[in-house]
Symmetry: C2
Amino acid sequence: VIGVFDSGVGGLSVLREIRSLLPSADMVYLADQANAPYGERSLDEVRSLAEKAAGHLIERGAGTVVVACNTASAAALQHLRRTHPGTAFVGMEPAVKPAAAATRTGVVGVLATPTTFQAEVLDGLVGRFAEGVEVIPHPCPGWASLIEDHGADTHPEAIAREVMPLVDAGADTLVLACTHYSFVSGRIAEVAGPGVTIVDPALPVARQVARVAEASGSGATTYLTTGDPERLAGQIRHLLGVEAAPEGLST
Amino acid sequence: VIGVFDSGVGGLSVLREIRSLLPSADMVYLADQANAPYGERSLDEVRSLAEKAAGHLIERGAGTVVVACNTASAAALQHLRRTHPGTAFVGMEPAVKPAAAATRTGVVGVLATPTTFQAEVLDGLVGRFAEGVEVIPHPCPGWASLIEDHGADTHPEAIAREVMPLVDAGADTLVLACTHYSFVSGRIAEVAGPGVTIVDPALPVARQVARVAEASGSGATTYLTTGDPERLAGQIRHLLGVEAAPEGLST
């Protein structure tokens, strides 16, 4: 089972891509809408909400948990990996690397929630992947809530208010660093104009989920035989060099 | 859970490769040793044994079942896929394609059990992938049982008896089309000499297993929300264009 959570509907953009890569995977999506939006809460609050959400998904059998929320990833991903060593976590981070590769003006804008920028995860990415590129962090307070309420019909004026300053500063590449924003990427593209590339991480993250999803068990191997369990134990020792305690199966 | 079955220990060669690709997957291995060897039974008998073995693994929670036995794959793979549409099956087939690409003499030997050759799966592969290459099927009666008993210590004379006629016929590439034979691939290489390539499908099959393993659920998506389930249903309809019945979670 693949679990996916977000403060609300933003993670549905990631769920959609995972579903298209893994058509028959069993998935559980949790929208923590009682506590949305995460992006204007403190990092500590978000960490404790993420802990709770991950717990619900693990209870439902998730071996892989996708933190389909940049804010929760920035606040809690390392913490979740430490506290749940048996679960594979995949999180979101600003797609600075592909943006730095795509820009021709050398100016990249990053759209995210205020709390995502507080977590300082962007600084490390810029240092590693965007040398010589100007990366402008731009918080978009209110966007996640607007998209919760209006989805793809969010008013273009609200979009333009945040996007135009980046375009005016010379950005030709915009990183969507909040999963909610994927649902207005068409609007952002309209507002920004044809010379601007929108970098949406939903598909690469889904690919990463597909890669790790099956590697998420306890690593146990159970051996069964319809023959003699002790004989099979000896064969496994001889052939694989491991000790095992096969179970006999009555046939 | 990834289930793997074979008549005996041959499938352990495949299990080993899957384990190295998916270190933390949960796996169940079933050796049908009460009924080994499969390779000298009729196709009908093997089909019914494979059906039983797959049933045991599915009972143990396997969503992916690896038929790590060429004989059972040739006899039953299509049948298993039809009778268990909710399970992903990965089977073995003679690795004619890579062998045809590797041969320089234009002669390829295929080592398998008598029953595997009865299934005629080889003919189709040769027609599709080995045009212009001479492919010599060579049944090795008794090998699987010898390897069950002696593993990698199987006597070189028994190996040479089957391998030398192929080498004498000009084969510079030998396909191991029985998973048991992987455990004597070192012996086969010694007997055949340095000019002969041994094609062992365990690793490519393991890669295939890794690819399909997570895609093996029922394809169900469960939606949960800590907020209002009806609101989330509306959002999912709007954003993803699908009808869903989210569950409310009390927090």
